[in-house]
């Protein structure tokens, strides 16, 4: 078995597993962090599919910008839940 095939098989197996973990995580924060990791793996998958431009865009926008936006949203949700006048936004 060539290394490429092994790598592809691992990637193909990891993607559904990670997706399930993203959806089934207990804490929303865990979901978001795993989502960023998922974005990175999807970017690797695009590289293996010989689409480097899409991989770059996925890493930058899908994992980077969307991940940051989701984390920011989490912080705002926490603030909103606590009535909006707390100073510390954790989570």
């Amino acid at each position: 078995m060539s290394t490429g095939l092994v790598f592809d098989a691992l990637l193909a197996g990891a993607l559904p597993l990670l997706t399930w973990r993203v959806l089934a995580a207990r804490e929303l924060f865990t979901s978001v962090i795993l989502f960023i990791a998922l974005g990175l793996l999807v970017s690797l998958a695009y590289v293996r599919l010989a689409a480097p431009d899409v991989a770059l865009a996925e890493a930058a926008i899908g994992a980077g910008v969307t991940g940051a936006l989701l984390l920011d949203t989490l912080a705002r949700i926490g603030e909103w839940r606590r009535g909006g006048d707390d100073d510390a936004a954790s989570g």
Binding site: R26, D53, A68, D72, R81
Partner: protein, 241 residues
């Protein structure tokens, strides 16, 4: 934070719905896999036609040629959509986060951001420049530039928008504006929409991509920041009062 109790209890009630959703998702995934695997072996697509026209496109990377030349209209509309998304988020009038990011900046974070931000700008310019021969281009460069903006915001080096509103407006709308102006100008001079005249393809593409990179970077960073300039000004006035 944990999912609220309503969600945790709802999990039992909505198990059949989730089962149906899982089944449909799996069916679509398998269908897509079958469709991709049953594509004809020598790939019959537009790759050949694109490769044939590369000489006229002004760049040597086929993806950039398609995005900025052959299907430039799609890219023009994409930038418009991005700007619309920002307008949509601004219409929510979110206020800026209460906790001062500058106060929360640890020394390591400060050092790291000071180190990374100029490097990120360098990577942005490189991605933009390399996009004509290798993978890269305006979107990727713009997203990396947005990352620099987000870092600066998170570490508290930047607290809001520019003092003068017109700089922000120019940065946000400049990409779409330049692209539209070039498209419109070309159409006025008798060419088809976005048909670059002979020999001008490369400089025009570079100009458009440069404007797009700046705009995309600022738009994505503004999406991350979330609050419109009016809300920032309101909060500043409140803090002073």
């Amino acid at each position: 934070m944990q999912r609220p109790a309503s969600v945790r209890n709802g999990r039992r009630r909505y198990a059949p719905v989730r089962a149906v959703a899982a089944f449909l998702a799996a069916a679509v995934a398998l269908g897509l896999g079958w469709a991709v695997l049953s594509l004809p072996e020598p790939a019959t697509g537009l790759t050949g036609r694109v490769a044939a026209e590369m000489g006229n496109s002004g760049v040597s990377h086929p993806v950039t040629a398609v995005l900025l030349n052959f299907r430039g209209y799609d890219t023009l509309l994409e930038i418009g959509v991005l700007l619309l998304a920002l307008v949509g988020v601004w219409s929510l009038r979110l206020s800026p986060a209460r906790r001062s990011a500058e106060a929360a900046r640890t020394p390591v974070l400060g050092y790291l951001v000071r180190l990374l931000a100029p490097l990120i700008i360098l990577v942005t310019v490189y991605l933009l420049w390399a996009g004509s021969q290798q993978p890269g281009g305006a979107f990727q460069a713009g997203a990396v530039l947005a990352a620099a903006g987000e870092l600066l915001l998170l570490a508290g080096f930047v607290r809001g928008y520019f003092r003068r509103a017109w700089i922000l407006r120019l940065a946000l709308a400049g990409g779409f504006g330049v692209f539209l102006a070039i498209a419109g100008g070309l159409a006025l001079f008798g060419n088809d929409l976005l048909e670059y005249p002979e020999g001008t393809a490369y400089p025009l593409i570079l100009l458009i991509e440069g404007a797009l990179t700046v705009s995309i970077g600022f738009t994505l960073a503004a999406l991350f920041f979330g609050s419109p300039p009016e809300a920032v000004a309101e909060r500043a006035a409140e803090d002073e009062a």
